[in-house]
Amino acid sequence: MSAQADTGAWPNATMIARGGGGPEPVEIVVAYGFWIFLLSDIIMFSALFATYAVLSGETAGGPSGRDLFDLRNAAIETLCLLFSSYACGLGVLAVRRRRMDGFYLSFALAFALGATFVALEVAEFAGMIARGAGPSRSAFLSAYFSLVGLHGAHVTAGLLWLAFTVAQIAVKGPRDFVLRRLHCFSLFWHALDIIWVALLTLVYLMGAR
């Protein structure tokens, strides 16, 4: 370090980015690794999106998207996820400034909105299955339940992760390694929103027309 300083070759931002300044801080390495995971998750979703796009017309004489989808429900689900994401972002800002009340409030809100989303989706699925439009009815419905169900499973897992991380902060305090986990969670929560945007457009908005 001092040798570098003596020659005046102090690493600037560009050198750090290109690996010229030694190892990156742990936060950046962890966030980058988690970003790679998120991209691989999105690639997995893309296979299901492709399946749905191919099969969306194959209703086998059963109900189509136009008969089944309720856009008002989809709009409420969208708002739940969007505001949950916003609350999560504000919560991360609050905990970085050690405003713990704001942090707990934001994350309670994020959890409540995420849970509302899951409840609405479960009710929607139950209603469709009760009408005889379960995943075994047609190829279209199989693809629909796999795609939307996988997103719902991600949100459910995210809710568990959220509760776990907040509990860790409550017990261990806002220490660096807990904050790194919280940061990864917030990336996950925002990425689920991106997948929901694609899902809303392809499945609900295009399907209900």
């Binding site: 370090m1 001092s2 300083a5 102090w10 690493p11 600037n12 931002a13 560009t14 750090i16 980015a17 290109r18 801080p25 936060e27 950046i28 966030a31 980058y32 970003w35 790679i36 991209l39 691989s40 999105i42 690639i43 893309s46 296979a47 999106f49 492709a50 399946t51 796009a53 191919v54 856009l71 709009a75 969208t78 969007l82 505001f83 994401s85 916003y86 972002g89 504000l90 991360v92 800002l93 970085r96 940061h183 917030s186 990336l187 925002h190 990425a191 929103d193 991106i194 945007v197 694609a198 809303l200 457009t201 392809l202 908005l205 295009m206 209900a208 027309r209």
Partner: protein, 129 residues
């Protein structure tokens, strides 16, 4: 050493993503992102539910709005930007997009080709008699 780091403090401490508030954005960033996202979602619902767009152009309009909203989420919520510390993340994103395009575009292309070129099942049964 002490002197030196002070002298260069402006060039090292200001690295984007390494500073105090930068990695998670600010209140204004999130609020702007939320406003843009709400606007684009509203526009998507409007395009799909009204005759605002020429009917055959609606799917294209919805796709454009969805891509715009994904961009908003990436920039305002996930803080993917053009800073030098984001180069790796942007490159990984570009590679991910390439794979997604290949998977989705390739599947649709192949299946459309098969649909257009294969005989209906009834005709195959007829031939097999």
């Amino acid at each position: 050493m002490e002197e030196h780091s002070e002298q260069h403090a402006s060039s090292t401490d200001q690295a984007p993503g390494v500073g105090e508030d930068e990695p998670s954005g600010s209140f204004a960033t999130y609020t702007a992102g939320l406003a843009f996202a709400l606007l684009l979602t509203g526009a998507s619902f409007m395009v799909s539910q009204t005759d605002l767009l020429w009917a055959p152009g609606v799917p294209a309009g919805l796709v454009v709005l969805a891509i715009a909203q994904m961009g908003v989420h990436l920039v305002f919520f996930l803080h993917i930007g053009t800073g030098p510390d984001k180069t790796n993340e942007v490159l990984a994103l570009a590679f991910g997009l390439l794979i997604v395009t290949l998977v989705v575009g390739g599947s649709l292309w192949i299946m459309a080709n098969l649909n257009a070129n294969m005989m209906p099942a009834a005709a195959i049964m007829e031939m097999q008699r």
